[in-house]
Each structure stands twice: as C-alpha cells, then as structure tokens.
Symmetry: C2
Subunit: 120 residues, 2 copies
Amino acid sequence: MLINELSKKTGVSIHTIRYYENLGLIQGVPDENVKTNNYKNYGEDAEERLGIIIEAKEVGFTLAEIRKLLDSWYGNSGTRTEQIEMFKLKIQEIEVKICQFTQIKNRLEAVCKKLENGQC
Amino acid sequence: MLINELSKKTGVSIHTIRYYENLGLIQGVPDENVKTNNYKNYGEDAEERLGIIIEAKEVGFTLAEIRKLLDSWYGNSGTRTEQIEMFKLKIQEIEVKICQFTQIKNRLEAVCKKLENGQC
DNA sequence: TTAATGTATAGAGTATAGTCTATACTTGTA
DNA sequence: TACAAGTATAGACTATACTCTATACATTAA
C-alpha cells in the first residue's frame, strides 16, 4: 500500500509516518515493477510496526526507546541473550510504572473520597 | 527555606523550580521581615507540591494537566462537584493506562518466552 | 492533455519541558 | 571591606516529537 492508505489505516498522519521513517522506525520500499517513480510501498509489517509504535508511545516510551524495542522485536540487532536482556529490562520498567500508577491512583481516590464525604 | 534548600530537598534543579514557578505550579513568597532583598521563601507546601509534580510527571501527566490537578487538589479552582469530577476523570485515565501497560507487558513477556525457548 | 490529486525531499516552524547564560543585586565570611 | 557564593529576572538555547511549507515530479480522471 502507499503512504496514504497506511495513514488512513493506522490513523497516523502522512507527515508523522515520514518522520518515523526518517528515524528508522518503519520502512517502505520502492516497487521494482514501477520504474517511473520512487513511491514507497508499505506492507503489513509497516502497519504492524506502526501499531506497536502507537501502543508504546501511549504508555510513555520515547521514540528512541521504541526504536530499540522494535529492533529487538524483529531481531534486527543484538544477540539472542542481549535481546532477552532488553525485553526483561523493559518488562521491569513497565512493572515499576504500573506500581507508580497504582500509588497515584490510590492517592487520588483517597482525596476523592474525602471530597465526597465533605471532609475538606 | 530558600530556593537552594528546596532544590536539594527535592532533587529538582533551581532552574526547573523557577520554571515551574513561572508556570504557576508552585509559589514562593518574599520574607516580609527582610526589606533588603526579594529572595523568595518556600514552605512545606511548596515542597509537597513539588513532590506531587515529580510523581505525576513520572506517570505521564503534562505540566498543564498537573497544574489543573494541583489546583483541584488544593482547592484553588472549581466547585466541589467539579473537583470530584476532575479527580474521577484522572482516576479513569490512570486505569486505562494501567490496562495498556499490562497489555504491552504481556506482549513483551510472550516474546521473551519465545526467545528463551529458542522459538525465534 | 490538462487539472486535480498524490508522492518525495528538504527544510522551516511549533509545542513542551527544560537548561543555560548574562546581568545585577544580596549575603556571608575571611 | 573585599570577594566568593547565593538569588532574581530575562532571554537564549536544546531536545523531543511532531507539523507544515515549498518544490518538484507522478498519477489519474475528465
């Protein structure tokens, strides 16, 4: 598919897709059959990678981190042991984040209850 | 306490504290007894607010959101009903985030296991 | 074939969140 | 009293993550 379709499918703007492509997060390839242009084609892999980027961004990873994540995910870098280390580290980070979220949630809930009971 | 002490206590740089103060997230007050300077004094409230800022930032709130949070927290804005609404909304947002984190964590764990079992 | 629309590339502009520098005044210690 | 260190203010600079503009070429429908 061309960039326009990828954009519509994922909800990511064409500009942003190109920005991600410049950063090496996804990659389109020119169609060998078409010699007249250098339009890039994006496959399901690009779509999937974009999906992961969106998800990872939502939970607070930077694009630099996501790049590393994708490289490990798709085995573009590091030995298997390094990849496993990378994933375990990320899992730990996420666990810490979940913990922090739970804490601040409890804090907010406590304040909320106080407010509801008119104790403020 | 003066800005230097506040910085040391919280681990937030003097520059950043001033930046937050400009945004209205915290506030120091000049000492009425000292007429020679306009050095600002920061109380425990400022320290506490900085603590909340740090926590909230860690879980992904923007400074604009944190400002609203602090205003509700300390009752500087809105009716009680509005405050409760605000808190409930934030709690919901956090629940969604925790859910997203759990999902991506499961995803990472699955890939990790595959890697460990040599299925990649 | 022409006009509208789509694509690629490069580079400028924007928003957020700092971070640093310059200048000027104040305080505290030798 | 001199001087190092602290403080305030304003403004410049940086990094991240876009977002937009300009230019040029390609494609497609009328």
